[in-house]
């Protein structure tokens, strides 16, 4: 499972833009748990203390935003790429 890490979070992944986790998660939730077992610092940036994805963080499996495909329960398959992308927001 491969993750694409946005610039602002790279200080928490040893400056890596891509992180591969050696497991076969069934859902986005399991995939993320695998990610923060390797890089624990990214957890609090992506989800709040209740485990909910922060409102201005988008997570894509391939090109699909998980917001429309089942949230953290969205299934993932081997070979999928998960992208974490900050939303276009602000003023």
């Amino acid at each position: 499972m491969r993750f694409r890490i946005p610039g602002p979070l790279r200080p928490l992944t040893g400056e890596r833009a891509e992180v591969t986790v050696p497991s076969a998660p069934a859902t986005v939730r399991e995939a993320l748990e695998a990610l923060w077992s390797v890089h624990p610092g990214v957890r609090d940036r992506i989800v709040n203390e209740q485990g909910q994805v922060r409102p201005h963080v988008n997570i894509f499996v391939g090109v699909e935003n998980i917001r429309w495909t089942g949230g953290l329960s969205t299934p993932v398959a081997d070979g999928n790429e998960i992208s974490i992308i900050p939303a276009v927001s602000g003023g």
């Binding site: 602002p8 979070l9 609090d44 709040n48 203390e49 209740q50």
Partner: protein, 438 residues
Amino acid sequence: MVDTRQVQVRDGDVVLLVGTMKGAFLLRSTPARSRWEMGGPHFPGQAVYALAYDARDGRRRLLAGTGSEHWGATLSTSDDFGRSWTTPETSTLRFPEDTGAALKRIWQILPGRADEPQMIYAGAEPAALFESRDAGASWNLVRGLHDHPHRPRWMPGGGGLCLHTIIPDAAKRDRLFVAISTGGVYRTDDGGASWQARNAGVRADFMPDKHPDFGQCVHKLVQHPARPERLFLQNHGGLYRSDDGGDSWQDIARGVPSDFGFAMAIHPHDPDTVFIVPLESDMFRCTAEGRLRVYRTRDAGGSWEALTRGLPQTSAYETVLRDAMAADASNPAGIHFGTRSGQVWSSANGGASWALAASGLPPVVCVKAFVVGEPGRARGGGAAPARRAAKPGPARTRTRAAARRKSGARRRAATRPRTVARPRASARPRSGARAKKK
């Protein structure tokens, strides 16, 4: 990449910490406070609602409550006046899972009493009080307040449902005041285990019952350590004084253009002198008549005078928010405030005259002021200064400072493994992402 300018802070300098909607700035001046040198932006792109200086126990630590719209709210610290910041990878200031709540913003950071040098308080949104008993390494939700039966009925105001002011009582060890918008003033007399609403006499114009027990939209609360039974309160409509520790409140809005406003600061050396910046009304939250006027009382609210020397008196429709005014404890005292239009105004003579210390900044939400090398803490509107008698003498401070300089590098190195230092290296990728934002 955002270039962050650093300034060299020296002993005796007066420093203003200025939090804005898009980063924090640090202004320094000699004791004359006639010319300000500015560093920043720190945390570019992030809203910095809470800043504090902790000079207790030999520290010279800045604390910043920062909030990224994307990545959430965090607490960062710096022991070198902002050259490097340390942010724990896993947030230490967080709601416990069983509360179902999630931290939205840190509104206030307040180092505790001078003789409790490990104690720090933080006010949060959603409204909650946190305390640290180890100088900020770990934090706990104050359950006594969080479990209060009123809490489910507190309502968010325009700024959100926030606990924005914290006052550890200067005389009674177990007494603490907090102010919540909208919830009102709450007081504990048993160190935080139980809390009572203390709003008798304070109006709530926006409620059918204008004098409820709680639910008032208090904007700022101040206390002077030399007269702790007395408090002053700037309300969302209403200006009040209490002479009995908050048990009852009297209207003191005589001689002001409006009793609406946010900011309030108490004179560091005179418990009868208070500063406010009245705004036209709830409907038009700008300085009345386009005149930027600070109002000062020197008789505990018996009368108010407009302070205008140096401040623009035409076309100045300004807003000064609740945490954007602070006093420094020099003599004469300095009074400083920031506006939503990004100006920072400063008076080095207790408000008699004013000069622009900075302009062109993002909207200012927080200003704290302190003198470097004097034990104490950044003094915001609600942060009353430590008692003079409790302060160690200057000689001791210098000795500690010298010792710290010698061991500074070693100490910093020792802190790093536990935390992520995110100054320059992290600024680069972060700024790239932000370029997409307006």
